[in-house]
Amino acid sequence: MASPFSGALQLTDLDDFIGPSQECIKPVKVEKRPGSGVAKIRIEDDGSYFQVNQDGGTRRLEKAKVSLNDCLACSGCITSAETVLITQQSHEELKKVLDANKMAAPSQQRLVVVSVSPQSRASLAARFQMNPTDTARKLTSFFKKIGVHFVFDTAFSRHFSLLESQREFVRRFRGQADCRQALPLLASACPGWICYAEKTHGSFILPHISTARSPQQVMGSLVKDFFAQQQRLTPDKIYHVTVMPCYDKKLEASRPDFFNQEHQTRDVDCVLTTGEVFRLLEEEDVSLPDLEPAPLDSLCSGASAEEPTSHRGGGSGGYLEHVFRHAARELFGIHVAEVTYKPLRNKDFQEVTLEKEGQVLLHFAMAYGFRNIQNLVQRLKRGRCPYHYVEVMACPSGCLNGGGQLQAPDRPSRELLQHVERLYGMVRAEAPEDAPGVQELYTHWLQGTDSECAGRLLHTQYHAVEKASTGLGIRW
């Protein structure tokens, strides 16, 4: 099967050569029992293993398992664990959870929350020929019909990602004299880019990456911390699903940094791609346009959402635009009305400049797609990167063109993408500073904008992955 992951991930250490999985070094925890002596192992007809002790007593042995998290956290071998990644997070899993809920006693049930990304919504809107508002309402209707309790929009959590990115940039810009690695600051919302940076360039590039969490992971914090408290539930009692335009987001959700040790639960339990939601609709035999629209849920009571909102600055979140305009205002007192992009060698590499009296004050860029990421990283390595901030995305044309978005075999892909972009842009843009509910959450949930809470719940860390140099890797 052709790899569904972004180009940046495909060229990292995922190798389809299965052999070296013998290299798997995942330590299997074995309970040491005293005085076991020599034991025999018997295999039953059903394939289960029993240890037969010298005294004749038997003990069923647990199967050694390598979980998704083990594979991702380790770099011991070079087997591609793609099938593992995909099967553990799928619409099948969601159905199992919903079915389990139906059978379970009320105290055993889990609260199911689905957070939909604006990009996935735009893709579905294009497919079903609906406007974004109807799509949002009918998706809410569909999910609730199958047993989901709440349906949120990640545009809300994106407010936080953008605000944190803006603040971080201004802080770093001001602190340039003290820290050589302060700039350029590179956007962090794209997991394809993060995984590539961690595995290929490691400790050189990681200090440049923004620590702000992506909208998906801020939503993880919002749902499993804030919302859980509100619902008087522990985080493990909530099953949080996100709907995303790509498969790389499944990797992001599986990162150990987003695993709550105390409650042994992930901030995001399952990521479904737009395509998987489409399959879910088909399997449930539901025609989305025919559903009755339902009112939209909101994380804060103050904001009654009649229609979804979005952000300016393109289909990948608008990081460049928000950080640029905020920095222009904060650092130089300049109000930028419209941001002008200048395309460079290709349409996925564009720059933006703030000039005053012939002097360049801010020099930003957007770099989408592997070839542009390559060039950016190489320039950085040589100390020849002229930018203060770069919005980096692994997919050419950005998130609206993610590997999990819906395809239309009967339409030229460029035309479909333009349609999806138009639908995405139709949604009213809102400045994060003005968005209802956001400031209240900073005050009441996070205890302030630069608090320890905010740092813990809205930021993350990166870890360079050491390449395992294996003798088996040498091939002519």
Partner: protein, 339 residues
């Protein structure tokens, strides 16, 4: 046939190692060789013998697999198993590494300059083909990363006059690429070989492409433009490529390299059976179904696998070859009478 390929001399180019590849500079005065000893050597003539004029030793951490001269002759690119490609600038007899191109995930298998001199292509075991662009300040930037092949890519070569790129792979296919808007796309896939395709060579006109394979055949492919007289179907505005000739039964082992002389049209092959062979198109053969005859077959040209054959671009009949035995040999080829 015995005298059609005559040995002129041998040099122990990469002692105790393999010599992997050879490249003549555009002027035909220098021969670059590279090998498993991580070095590149530049050879020139002094009287009747070939002597080593330079050794480029600080460039790579592992085997240097291929070398390629820029069309202007002032630069040499080297592709290495250390996953990098070095660009060397020539200053008389000195070569200085001016840039190292990084980015491939693992062993770089080949490098080639486009006829314009502005573009460079590299390919790797990571299954990708990269196109790089050089600017006036000798800065290289990646223009495209092409992931069309499903296995290790062994060789890349540019069309002699157009910006058309060809690649050969362990996935048994040859692929062709061209620029489309701001990116490069795969515009054709040539299927037919039954095993790894090791090398490629365009004919002097660029209308035909020769490929050689682990399946012990050489295939000749011809380009058919849309609206061609022969009625070969094309999809859209892209030309089609059809296999018009297969040379089978001549080689007893894998064919590692094929070289098409730009001066005489002779086709030379480097084989795992330690032999060098030369083929020439029969004078009256049908252009749509050409026939080639074996005009030279030198057994034991080397004591081990022959890895590369290279025709001198200025002196007709001058052929260089290299082998796993670490040696470079020079040959004089003369088309036999009556053939």
């Amino acid at each position: 046939m015995k005298d059609s390929l005559v040995l002129l001399g041998r040099v122990p180019a990469h002692p105790d190692s393999r010599c992997w590849f050879l490249a003549w500079n555009p002027a035909g005065t220098l021969l670059a060789s590279c090998g498993g000893d991580r070095r590149i050597r530049i050879w020139g003539t002094e009287g009747d013998s070939w002597i080593c004029k330079s050794v480029l030793s600080e460039g790579h951490q592992r085997t240097v697999r291929k070398v390629a001269w820029s069309p202007c002759g002032n630069y040499l690119a080297s592709a290495s198993f250390d996953a990098t490609t070095c660009i060397w600038k020539k200053n008389q007899d000195d070569f200085e590494c001016v840039t190292t191109l990084e980015g491939h995930e693992n062993e770089v298998k080949s490098v080639a300059w486009a006829p314009s001199g502005n573009l460079l292509a590299t390919c790797s075991r990571d299954k990708s083909v990269w196109v790089w662009e050089v600017d006036e300040e000798d800065e290289y930037e990646c223009v495209s990363v092409l992931n069309s092949h499903t296995q290790d890519v062994k060789h890349v070569v540019w069309h002699p006059s157009q910006e058309l790129l060809a690649s050969a792979s362990y996935d048994d296919t040859v692929k062709l690429y061209r620029e489309e808007e701001d990116d490069w796309v795969c515009c054709a896939t040539l299927e037919g070989h039954e095993s790894t395709v090791w090398s490629l060579a365009f004919d002097p006109s660029g209308q035909r492409l020769a490929s050689c394979s682990d399946d012990r055949t050489v295939r000749i492919w011809r380009q058919y433009l849309p609206g061609n007289e022969q009625g070969v179907a094309c999809s859209g505005s892209d030309p089609s490529w059809k296999c018009i000739c297969t040379l089978s039964g001549f080689h007893s082992r894998t064919i590692y390299d094929v070289a098409w002389c730009q001066l005489t049209g002779a086709l030379a092959t480097a084989c795992g059976d330690d032999a060098i062979r030369v083929f020439q198109e029969d004078p009256n053969s049908d252009p749509q179904q050409p026939t080639f005859s074996l005009t030279a077959h030198l057994h034991q040209a080397h004591s081990q696998d022959v890895n590369c054959v290279a025709w001198n671009p200025k002196e007709p009949g001058l052929l260089a070859s290299c082998s796993d035995d670490g040696e470079v040999a020079f040959w004089k080829y003369q088309r036999p009478e009556g053939l």
